[in-house]
Symmetry: C2
Protein backbone atom coordinates (compact mmCIF):
# COMPACT_ATOMS: atom_id res chain seq x y z
CA UNK A 1 0.00 0.00 0.00
CA UNK A 2 1.08 3.60 -0.58
CA UNK A 3 1.09 5.23 2.84
CA UNK A 4 1.50 8.89 1.88
CA UNK A 5 -1.44 11.26 2.27
CA UNK A 6 -3.34 12.73 -0.69
CA UNK A 7 -3.96 16.46 -0.21
CA UNK A 8 -7.31 18.06 -0.96
CA UNK A 9 -7.14 20.08 -4.17
CA UNK A 10 -6.91 23.84 -3.64
CA UNK A 11 -9.41 24.85 -6.32
CA UNK A 12 -9.79 28.55 -7.22
CA UNK A 13 -13.27 29.78 -6.32
CA UNK A 14 -13.75 31.19 -9.84
CA UNK A 15 -13.52 27.71 -11.43
CA UNK A 16 -16.66 26.47 -13.21
CA UNK A 17 -18.64 24.10 -10.93
CA UNK A 18 -18.22 21.21 -13.39
CA UNK A 19 -14.43 21.50 -13.29
CA UNK A 20 -14.32 22.12 -9.55
CA UNK A 21 -16.56 19.17 -8.77
CA UNK A 22 -14.71 16.89 -11.20
CA UNK A 23 -11.34 17.76 -9.64
CA UNK A 24 -12.68 17.15 -6.12
CA UNK A 25 -14.29 13.87 -7.19
CA UNK A 26 -11.03 12.76 -8.82
CA UNK A 27 -9.03 13.58 -5.70
CA UNK A 28 -11.47 11.75 -3.40
CA UNK A 29 -11.57 8.68 -5.65
CA UNK A 30 -7.78 8.72 -5.95
CA UNK A 31 -7.42 8.76 -2.15
CA UNK A 32 -10.00 6.00 -1.67
CA UNK A 33 -8.32 3.83 -4.32
CA UNK A 34 -4.93 4.15 -2.60
CA UNK A 35 -6.45 3.30 0.77
CA UNK A 36 -8.09 0.13 -0.60
CA UNK A 37 -5.60 -1.22 -3.13
CA UNK A 38 -1.89 -1.99 -3.19
CA UNK A 39 0.55 -1.10 -6.00
CA UNK A 40 -0.25 -4.20 -8.05
CA UNK A 41 -4.02 -3.83 -7.70
CA UNK A 42 -3.91 -0.13 -8.67
CA UNK A 43 -1.87 -0.99 -11.77
CA UNK A 44 -3.85 -4.06 -12.79
CA UNK A 45 -5.04 -3.78 -16.37
CA UNK A 46 -8.69 -4.62 -16.18
CA UNK A 47 -10.00 -3.33 -19.53
CA UNK A 48 -9.00 -1.74 -22.83
CA UNK A 49 -9.72 1.99 -22.95
CA UNK A 50 -11.16 4.09 -25.74
CA UNK A 51 -7.66 5.27 -26.60
CA UNK A 52 -6.70 1.71 -27.51
CA UNK A 53 -4.39 1.14 -24.54
CA UNK A 54 -5.00 -0.97 -21.44
CA UNK A 55 -6.85 0.74 -18.58
CA UNK A 56 -5.52 0.38 -15.08
CA UNK A 57 -7.90 -0.12 -12.15
CA UNK A 58 -6.86 3.28 -10.78
CA UNK A 59 -7.86 5.01 -14.03
CA UNK A 60 -11.26 3.36 -14.05
CA UNK A 61 -12.03 4.15 -10.40
CA UNK A 62 -11.21 7.83 -10.80
CA UNK A 63 -12.90 8.14 -14.18
CA UNK A 64 -16.08 6.65 -12.72
CA UNK A 65 -16.21 9.46 -10.14
CA UNK A 66 -15.76 12.08 -12.86
CA UNK A 67 -18.42 10.47 -15.05
CA UNK A 68 -20.95 10.99 -12.24
CA UNK A 69 -20.21 14.72 -12.25
CA UNK A 70 -20.73 14.98 -16.02
CA UNK A 71 -23.96 12.99 -15.72
CA UNK A 72 -25.30 15.19 -12.91
CA UNK A 73 -24.68 18.29 -15.07
CA UNK A 74 -26.14 16.55 -18.18
CA UNK A 75 -23.11 17.41 -20.31
CA UNK A 76 -21.04 15.23 -22.63
CA UNK A 77 -17.88 13.55 -21.41
CA UNK A 78 -14.73 12.71 -23.35
CA UNK A 79 -12.36 10.72 -21.18
CA UNK A 80 -9.42 8.36 -21.59
CA UNK A 81 -11.04 5.02 -20.84
CA UNK A 82 -14.78 5.46 -21.39
CA UNK A 83 -14.34 7.49 -24.57
CA UNK A 84 -17.12 9.84 -25.69
CA UNK A 85 -20.41 9.93 -23.79
CA UNK A 86 -22.74 12.03 -25.95
CA UNK A 87 -25.66 13.60 -24.10
CA UNK A 88 -26.47 16.02 -26.93
CA UNK A 89 -25.10 18.96 -24.93
CA UNK A 90 -23.15 21.85 -26.48
CA UNK A 91 -20.70 21.41 -23.58
CA UNK A 92 -18.22 18.57 -23.15
CA UNK A 93 -15.96 17.84 -20.20
CA UNK A 94 -12.68 16.58 -21.65
CA UNK A 95 -10.78 14.82 -18.89
CA UNK A 96 -7.66 12.90 -18.14
CA UNK A 97 -8.77 11.40 -14.80
CA UNK A 98 -5.27 10.35 -13.71
CA UNK A 99 -2.48 11.75 -15.83
CA UNK A 100 0.67 9.84 -14.94
CA UNK A 101 -1.17 6.66 -13.90
CA UNK A 102 2.00 4.58 -13.94
CA UNK A 103 3.59 7.05 -11.51
CA UNK A 104 0.53 7.06 -9.28
CA UNK A 105 0.12 3.28 -9.14
CA UNK A 106 3.81 2.79 -8.36
CA UNK A 107 3.91 5.49 -5.69
CA UNK A 108 5.88 8.13 -7.60
CA UNK A 109 4.11 11.28 -6.39
CA UNK A 110 3.63 12.91 -9.79
CA UNK A 111 0.11 12.53 -11.14
CA UNK A 112 -2.68 14.93 -11.95
CA UNK A 113 -6.33 15.41 -12.78
CA UNK A 114 -6.73 17.52 -15.91
CA UNK A 115 -10.06 18.77 -17.18
CA UNK A 116 -11.15 21.16 -19.91
CA UNK A 117 -14.62 22.50 -20.63
CA UNK A 118 -15.26 22.49 -24.36
CA UNK A 119 -18.09 24.45 -25.94
CA UNK A 120 -18.99 23.60 -29.55
CA UNK A 121 -15.55 22.09 -30.09
CA UNK A 122 -13.53 24.90 -28.53
CA UNK A 123 -11.81 24.55 -25.11
CA UNK A 124 -12.93 27.52 -23.02
CA UNK A 125 -11.76 26.78 -19.46
CA UNK A 126 -9.33 24.36 -17.82
CA UNK A 127 -8.36 23.07 -14.39
CA UNK A 128 -5.36 20.86 -13.62
CA UNK A 129 -4.71 19.58 -10.09
CA UNK A 130 -1.61 17.76 -8.89
CA UNK A 131 -3.29 14.95 -6.98
CA UNK A 132 -0.48 14.31 -4.47
CA UNK A 133 -0.18 17.87 -3.18
CA UNK A 134 -3.44 19.59 -4.17
CA UNK A 135 -1.72 22.33 -6.20
CA UNK A 136 -4.13 23.49 -8.95
CA UNK A 137 -3.83 25.63 -12.06
CA UNK A 138 -6.97 27.25 -13.51
CA UNK A 139 -7.41 29.27 -16.68
CA UNK A 140 -10.11 30.74 -18.91
CA UNK A 141 -9.52 31.04 -22.65
CA UNK A 142 -8.89 34.62 -23.73
CA UNK A 143 -8.20 35.89 -20.19
CA UNK A 144 -4.75 36.25 -18.66
CA UNK A 145 -3.87 33.47 -16.21
CA UNK A 146 -2.57 34.27 -12.69
CA UNK A 147 0.77 32.69 -13.69
CA UNK A 148 3.19 33.35 -16.56
CA UNK A 149 5.59 31.24 -18.61
CA UNK A 150 9.33 31.89 -18.47
CA UNK A 151 9.13 33.80 -21.76
CA UNK A 152 12.10 31.93 -23.20
CA UNK A 153 12.44 31.93 -26.99
CA UNK A 154 15.50 29.72 -27.69
CA UNK A 155 15.92 25.96 -27.37
CA UNK A 156 19.70 26.24 -26.88
CA UNK A 157 20.14 26.30 -23.11
CA UNK A 158 16.46 25.75 -22.29
CA UNK A 159 15.01 23.50 -19.59
CA UNK A 160 12.88 20.92 -21.38
CA UNK A 161 10.68 18.06 -20.19
CA UNK A 162 10.28 15.19 -22.62
CA UNK A 163 8.31 12.01 -22.92
CA UNK A 164 10.65 9.06 -22.49
CA UNK A 165 12.37 8.05 -25.74
CA UNK A 166 11.32 5.10 -27.85
CA UNK A 167 13.34 3.30 -30.55
CA UNK A 168 11.14 5.02 -33.17
CA UNK A 169 12.13 8.54 -32.12
CA UNK A 170 15.57 8.03 -30.60
CA UNK A 171 17.41 10.40 -32.93
CA UNK A 172 14.79 13.17 -32.61
CA UNK A 173 14.86 12.78 -28.82
CA UNK A 174 18.64 13.25 -28.82
CA UNK A 175 18.47 16.27 -31.12
CA UNK A 176 16.30 18.10 -28.59
CA UNK A 177 18.25 16.82 -25.57
CA UNK A 178 21.62 17.81 -26.96
CA UNK A 179 20.53 21.46 -27.35
CA UNK A 180 18.77 21.82 -23.99
CA UNK A 181 20.63 22.76 -20.81
CA UNK A 182 18.35 20.57 -18.68
CA UNK A 183 16.20 17.60 -19.55
CA UNK A 184 13.60 15.99 -17.34
CA UNK A 185 11.26 13.02 -17.77
CA UNK A 186 8.55 13.28 -15.13
CA UNK A 187 6.09 10.95 -16.91
CA UNK A 188 3.05 13.15 -16.28
CA UNK A 189 2.21 15.24 -19.34
CA UNK A 190 -0.52 17.40 -17.83
CA UNK A 191 1.55 18.32 -14.78
CA UNK A 192 4.62 18.99 -16.92
CA UNK A 193 2.51 21.32 -19.08
CA UNK A 194 1.52 23.29 -15.96
CA UNK A 195 5.19 23.62 -14.96
CA UNK A 196 5.65 25.31 -18.34
CA UNK A 197 2.58 27.50 -17.78
CA UNK A 198 3.87 28.76 -14.42
CA UNK A 199 7.42 29.32 -15.69
CA UNK A 200 9.15 26.55 -13.72
CA UNK A 201 10.42 24.96 -16.90
CA UNK A 202 10.63 26.25 -20.46
CA UNK A 203 8.96 23.50 -22.46
CA UNK A 204 7.48 20.02 -22.52
CA UNK A 205 7.38 17.88 -25.65
CA UNK A 206 6.66 14.54 -27.21
CA UNK A 207 9.73 14.39 -29.45
CA UNK A 208 7.88 12.91 -32.39
CA UNK A 209 6.70 9.59 -30.94
CA UNK A 210 3.01 10.43 -31.58
CA UNK A 211 2.01 9.31 -28.09
CA UNK A 212 -0.21 12.24 -27.04
CA UNK A 213 -3.99 11.97 -27.11
CA UNK A 214 -6.16 15.06 -27.05
CA UNK A 215 -7.02 14.42 -23.36
CA UNK A 216 -3.29 14.91 -22.60
CA UNK A 217 -3.29 18.34 -24.23
CA UNK A 218 -6.77 19.86 -23.84
CA UNK A 219 -6.17 21.60 -20.48
CA UNK A 220 -2.80 22.93 -21.67
CA UNK A 221 -4.48 24.32 -24.81
CA UNK A 222 -6.31 26.76 -22.50
CA UNK A 223 -3.82 27.35 -19.69
CA UNK A 224 -0.56 27.73 -21.59
CA UNK A 225 -1.68 30.39 -24.14
CA UNK A 226 -3.36 32.24 -21.23
CA UNK A 227 0.09 32.37 -19.59
CA UNK A 228 1.93 33.59 -22.69
CA UNK A 229 2.98 30.25 -24.15
CA UNK A 230 1.97 28.01 -27.04
CA UNK A 231 0.79 24.46 -27.70
CA UNK A 232 1.22 22.84 -31.11
CA UNK A 233 1.87 19.56 -32.85
CA UNK A 234 5.36 18.77 -34.10
CA UNK A 235 4.02 17.89 -37.56
CA UNK A 236 1.64 20.84 -37.78
CA UNK A 237 -1.56 18.83 -37.36
CA UNK A 238 -4.48 20.78 -35.87
CA UNK A 239 -5.18 19.96 -32.21
CA UNK A 240 -8.84 18.99 -32.50
CA UNK A 241 -11.25 17.89 -29.78
CA UNK A 242 -12.18 14.67 -31.55
CA UNK A 243 -14.25 11.89 -29.95
CA UNK A 244 -11.90 9.36 -31.58
CA UNK A 245 -9.27 8.85 -28.88
CA UNK A 246 -7.14 6.61 -31.07
CA UNK A 247 -5.91 9.80 -32.81
CA UNK A 248 -2.42 10.77 -31.69
CA UNK A 249 -0.24 13.86 -31.74
CA UNK A 250 3.30 14.86 -30.77
CA UNK A 251 2.51 17.84 -28.61
CA UNK A 252 4.89 20.70 -27.86
CA UNK A 253 4.04 22.95 -24.90
CA UNK A 254 6.39 25.91 -24.73
CA UNK A 255 6.97 29.22 -22.99
CA UNK A 256 6.61 31.12 -26.29
CA UNK A 257 5.37 30.38 -29.83
CA UNK A 258 8.95 30.82 -31.06
CA UNK A 259 10.32 28.18 -28.67
CA UNK A 260 7.52 25.78 -29.66
CA UNK A 261 8.47 26.17 -33.32
CA UNK A 262 12.18 25.72 -32.55
CA UNK A 263 11.49 22.47 -30.72
CA UNK A 264 9.26 21.19 -33.50
CA UNK A 265 12.05 22.00 -35.95
CA UNK A 266 14.61 20.15 -33.84
CA UNK A 267 12.36 17.10 -33.64
CA UNK A 268 11.86 17.03 -37.41
CA UNK A 269 15.64 17.47 -37.92
Amino acid sequence: MIGWPVADPVIPTVAHPVLAQAAKAASDAFRAARERHDHAQLAEKTAVGADGTASMRLDLLVESAIAEVAEAHRINLLSEEIGFVDRGSAVTLVADPVDGTANAAAGVPLSAFAGALVRDGTPVEALTCWLDTGRCWHAVAGAPAPYRTSGRGELDGAAVSLLRPHPRNREAWWRVTSRAARVRILSTSCLEAMLVAEGSTDAFADAGSDTHRIVDLAAAMVAVPAAGGAVLDVRGRALEIDPDLTRRWSGVVAATPRLAEEIAGAVLG
Copy 2:
Protein backbone atom coordinates in the same frame (compact mmCIF):
# COMPACT_ATOMS: atom_id res chain seq x y z
CA MET B 1 8.84 34.54 -7.00
CA ILE B 2 7.74 30.95 -6.36
CA GLY B 3 4.33 31.23 -4.70
CA TRP B 4 3.82 27.63 -3.56
CA PRO B 5 4.04 26.77 0.14
CA VAL B 6 6.91 24.77 1.64
CA ALA B 7 5.61 22.12 4.04
CA ASP B 8 7.22 21.49 7.42
CA PRO B 9 9.21 18.24 7.38
CA VAL B 10 7.46 15.33 9.11
CA ILE B 11 10.50 14.01 10.97
CA PRO B 12 10.28 10.65 12.79
CA THR B 13 10.67 11.16 16.55
CA VAL B 14 13.39 8.48 16.66
CA ALA B 15 15.71 10.53 14.42
CA HIS B 16 18.99 11.69 15.99
CA PRO B 17 18.69 15.34 17.15
CA VAL B 18 21.48 16.43 14.78
CA LEU B 19 19.64 15.05 11.75
CA ALA B 20 16.24 16.26 12.95
CA GLN B 21 17.52 19.78 13.65
CA ALA B 22 19.46 19.92 10.37
CA ALA B 23 16.38 18.89 8.37
CA LYS B 24 14.20 21.47 10.13
CA ALA B 25 16.86 24.18 9.66
CA ALA B 26 17.13 23.28 5.98
CA SER B 27 13.37 23.49 5.50
CA ASP B 28 13.09 26.83 7.31
CA ALA B 29 15.98 28.32 5.34
CA PHE B 30 14.54 26.97 2.08
CA ARG B 31 11.18 28.61 2.80
CA ALA B 32 12.79 31.91 3.80
CA ALA B 33 14.94 31.93 0.66
CA ARG B 34 11.90 31.42 -1.58
CA GLU B 35 10.01 34.21 0.20
CA ARG B 36 12.88 36.68 -0.27
CA HIS B 37 14.32 35.82 -3.68
CA ASP B 38 12.98 35.25 -7.19
CA HIS B 39 14.00 32.45 -9.56
CA ALA B 40 17.04 34.29 -10.90
CA GLN B 41 18.29 35.33 -7.45
CA LEU B 42 17.90 31.79 -6.06
CA ALA B 43 19.89 30.38 -9.00
CA GLU B 44 22.58 33.07 -9.04
CA LYS B 45 26.01 31.53 -8.86
CA THR B 46 27.73 33.45 -6.14
CA ALA B 47 30.73 31.22 -5.30
CA VAL B 48 32.58 28.04 -6.28
CA GLY B 49 31.84 25.12 -3.95
CA ALA B 50 34.16 22.50 -2.48
CA ASP B 51 32.96 20.04 -5.11
CA GLY B 52 34.42 22.26 -7.83
CA THR B 53 31.08 23.41 -9.25
CA ALA B 54 29.41 26.80 -8.90
CA SER B 55 27.28 27.31 -5.79
CA MET B 56 23.85 28.85 -6.16
CA ARG B 57 22.58 31.39 -3.63
CA LEU B 58 19.90 28.89 -2.53
CA ASP B 59 22.54 26.24 -1.74
CA LEU B 60 24.56 28.66 0.34
CA LEU B 61 21.60 29.97 2.32
CA VAL B 62 20.41 26.49 3.26
CA GLU B 63 23.91 25.16 3.95
CA SER B 64 24.56 28.07 6.29
CA ALA B 65 21.57 27.03 8.41
CA ILE B 66 22.83 23.45 8.55
CA ALA B 67 26.35 24.55 9.46
CA GLU B 68 24.95 26.24 12.57
CA VAL B 69 23.46 22.93 13.69
CA ALA B 70 26.77 21.11 13.26
CA GLU B 71 28.56 23.89 15.11
CA ALA B 72 26.11 23.81 18.03
CA HIS B 73 26.70 20.06 18.40
CA ARG B 74 30.48 20.48 17.96
CA ILE B 75 30.66 17.83 15.26
CA ASN B 76 32.39 17.87 11.88
CA LEU B 77 30.51 18.84 8.75
CA LEU B 78 31.00 17.64 5.19
CA SER B 79 28.74 19.56 2.83
CA GLU B 80 28.52 20.39 -0.85
CA GLU B 81 29.66 24.00 -0.83
CA ILE B 82 31.65 24.56 2.36
CA GLY B 83 33.50 21.23 2.09
CA PHE B 84 34.94 19.64 5.24
CA VAL B 85 34.74 21.50 8.55
CA ASP B 86 36.95 19.49 10.92
CA ARG B 87 36.17 19.96 14.62
CA GLY B 88 38.15 16.88 15.68
CA SER B 89 34.94 14.98 16.45
CA ALA B 90 34.47 11.25 15.75
CA VAL B 91 31.10 12.22 14.26
CA THR B 92 30.52 14.00 10.95
CA LEU B 93 27.29 15.29 9.49
CA VAL B 94 27.45 14.62 5.74
CA ALA B 95 24.84 16.78 4.05
CA ASP B 96 23.42 17.73 0.72
CA PRO B 97 21.58 20.88 1.84
CA VAL B 98 19.46 21.17 -1.31
CA ASP B 99 19.58 18.16 -3.57
CA GLY B 100 18.01 19.17 -6.89
CA THR B 101 18.95 22.84 -6.56
CA ALA B 102 18.23 23.55 -10.21
CA ASN B 103 14.72 22.17 -9.74
CA ALA B 104 14.21 24.17 -6.57
CA ALA B 105 15.44 27.47 -7.97
CA ALA B 106 13.32 27.08 -11.10
CA GLY B 107 10.19 26.11 -9.19
CA VAL B 108 10.09 22.41 -10.12
CA PRO B 109 8.85 20.93 -6.82
CA LEU B 110 11.43 18.14 -6.57
CA SER B 111 14.22 18.91 -4.13
CA ALA B 112 15.40 17.41 -0.87
CA PHE B 113 17.55 17.78 2.20
CA ALA B 114 19.70 14.69 2.71
CA GLY B 115 21.85 14.09 5.77
CA ALA B 116 23.88 11.17 7.09
CA LEU B 117 25.58 10.82 10.44
CA VAL B 118 29.01 9.28 9.97
CA ARG B 119 30.98 7.79 12.88
CA ASP B 120 34.66 7.06 12.27
CA GLY B 121 34.11 6.96 8.51
CA THR B 122 30.99 4.76 8.56
CA PRO B 123 27.48 6.13 7.84
CA VAL B 124 25.28 5.03 10.75
CA GLU B 125 22.00 6.95 10.36
CA ALA B 126 20.30 8.96 7.61
CA LEU B 127 17.41 11.34 7.10
CA THR B 128 16.13 12.59 3.75
CA CYS B 129 13.28 15.11 3.53
CA TRP B 130 11.46 16.21 0.38
CA LEU B 131 11.47 19.95 0.97
CA ASP B 132 8.34 20.79 -1.02
CA THR B 133 5.99 18.37 0.74
CA GLY B 134 7.72 17.50 4.03
CA ARG B 135 7.82 13.75 3.36
CA CYS B 136 10.83 12.25 5.20
CA TRP B 137 12.65 8.92 5.12
CA HIS B 138 14.74 7.87 8.13
CA ALA B 139 16.97 4.84 8.62
CA VAL B 140 19.57 3.44 10.98
CA ALA B 141 22.36 1.23 9.63
CA GLY B 142 21.87 -2.43 10.51
CA ALA B 143 18.20 -2.01 11.47
CA PRO B 144 15.27 -2.67 9.14
CA ALA B 145 13.68 0.50 7.76
CA PRO B 146 9.91 1.11 7.97
CA TYR B 147 9.77 0.88 4.15
CA ARG B 148 10.90 -1.77 1.66
CA THR B 149 12.22 -1.75 -1.89
CA SER B 150 10.24 -3.40 -4.70
CA GLY B 151 12.51 -6.45 -4.50
CA ARG B 152 13.00 -6.51 -8.27
CA GLY B 153 16.05 -8.40 -9.56
CA GLU B 154 15.97 -7.86 -13.35
CA LEU B 155 16.68 -4.76 -15.40
CA ASP B 156 14.51 -5.95 -18.31
CA GLY B 157 11.13 -4.35 -17.66
CA ALA B 158 12.24 -2.36 -14.60
CA ALA B 159 11.32 1.22 -13.73
CA VAL B 160 14.58 3.17 -13.63
CA SER B 161 15.44 6.78 -12.81
CA LEU B 162 18.55 8.12 -14.48
CA LEU B 163 20.69 11.23 -14.38
CA ARG B 164 20.21 13.12 -17.63
CA PRO B 165 22.50 11.89 -20.41
CA HIS B 166 25.67 13.66 -21.51
CA PRO B 167 27.59 13.23 -24.77
CA ARG B 168 30.23 11.26 -22.80
CA ASN B 169 27.78 8.53 -21.70
CA ARG B 170 25.15 8.60 -24.41
CA GLU B 171 25.56 4.96 -25.47
CA ALA B 172 25.60 3.66 -21.88
CA TRP B 173 22.52 5.75 -21.07
CA TRP B 174 20.69 4.25 -24.01
CA ARG B 175 21.72 0.68 -23.12
CA VAL B 176 20.00 1.04 -19.74
CA THR B 177 17.01 2.89 -21.19
CA SER B 178 16.36 0.36 -23.93
CA ARG B 179 16.03 -2.48 -21.39
CA ALA B 180 13.88 -0.64 -18.84
CA ALA B 181 10.09 -0.50 -19.12
CA ARG B 182 9.99 3.02 -17.68
CA VAL B 183 12.61 5.73 -17.51
CA ARG B 184 12.41 8.92 -15.50
CA ILE B 185 14.73 11.90 -15.04
CA LEU B 186 13.62 13.79 -11.93
CA SER B 187 16.95 15.64 -11.43
CA THR B 188 17.06 15.07 -7.68
CA SER B 189 19.35 12.15 -6.80
CA CYS B 190 18.62 11.94 -3.08
CA LEU B 191 14.84 11.97 -3.57
CA GLU B 192 15.08 9.45 -6.42
CA ALA B 193 17.10 7.17 -4.11
CA MET B 194 14.30 7.33 -1.53
CA LEU B 195 11.73 6.39 -4.18
CA VAL B 196 13.84 3.25 -4.68
CA ALA B 197 14.04 2.68 -0.91
CA GLU B 198 10.25 2.82 -0.52
CA GLY B 199 9.57 0.64 -3.56
CA SER B 200 8.01 3.31 -5.79
CA THR B 201 10.64 2.73 -8.46
CA ASP B 202 13.13 -0.08 -8.98
CA ALA B 203 16.42 1.76 -9.41
CA PHE B 204 18.20 5.07 -9.82
CA ALA B 205 21.54 5.39 -11.59
CA ASP B 206 24.22 7.63 -12.96
CA ALA B 207 24.79 5.73 -16.20
CA GLY B 208 28.55 6.16 -16.12
CA SER B 209 28.89 9.94 -16.33
CA ASP B 210 30.80 10.10 -12.99
CA THR B 211 28.66 12.98 -11.75
CA HIS B 212 27.84 11.76 -8.24
CA ARG B 213 29.63 13.12 -5.20
CA ILE B 214 29.58 11.29 -1.90
CA VAL B 215 27.08 13.82 -0.50
CA ASP B 216 24.63 12.62 -3.18
CA LEU B 217 24.91 9.01 -2.02
CA ALA B 218 25.64 9.02 1.74
CA ALA B 219 22.02 8.99 2.94
CA ALA B 220 21.10 6.28 0.42
CA MET B 221 24.05 4.17 1.65
CA VAL B 222 22.16 3.83 4.96
CA ALA B 223 18.51 3.89 3.89
CA VAL B 224 18.56 1.65 0.83
CA PRO B 225 20.35 -1.39 2.35
CA ALA B 226 18.07 -1.01 5.41
CA ALA B 227 15.12 -1.42 3.01
CA GLY B 228 16.55 -4.45 1.21
CA GLY B 229 18.36 -2.72 -1.63
CA ALA B 230 21.92 -1.92 -2.61
CA VAL B 231 24.12 1.07 -3.47
CA LEU B 232 27.30 0.65 -5.50
CA ASP B 233 29.51 2.35 -8.06
CA VAL B 234 29.26 1.30 -11.71
CA ARG B 235 33.03 0.81 -11.92
CA GLY B 236 33.35 -0.98 -8.57
CA ARG B 237 35.04 1.88 -6.72
CA ALA B 238 34.47 1.90 -2.95
CA LEU B 239 31.95 4.51 -1.78
CA GLU B 240 34.12 6.34 0.76
CA ILE B 241 33.24 9.25 3.00
CA ASP B 242 36.14 11.36 1.78
CA PRO B 243 36.61 15.05 2.65
CA ASP B 244 37.71 15.64 -0.95
CA LEU B 245 34.44 16.52 -2.69
CA THR B 246 36.05 16.67 -6.12
CA ARG B 247 35.98 12.83 -6.13
CA ARG B 248 33.18 11.47 -8.31
CA TRP B 249 31.28 8.21 -8.67
CA SER B 250 28.60 6.74 -10.92
CA GLY B 251 26.20 5.55 -8.26
CA VAL B 252 23.62 2.81 -8.73
CA VAL B 253 20.80 2.62 -6.17
CA ALA B 254 18.68 -0.49 -6.71
CA ALA B 255 15.94 -2.58 -5.17
CA THR B 256 18.28 -5.58 -4.84
CA PRO B 257 22.03 -6.25 -5.09
CA ARG B 258 21.35 -8.31 -8.23
CA LEU B 259 19.57 -5.43 -9.98
CA ALA B 260 22.38 -3.06 -9.01
CA GLU B 261 24.93 -5.39 -10.61
CA GLU B 262 22.77 -5.82 -13.75
CA ILE B 263 22.55 -2.06 -14.20
CA ALA B 264 26.28 -1.62 -13.67
CA GLY B 265 26.85 -4.32 -16.29
CA ALA B 266 24.52 -2.60 -18.76
CA VAL B 267 26.31 0.73 -18.26
CA LEU B 268 29.73 -0.84 -18.87
CA GLY B 269 28.36 -2.62 -21.98
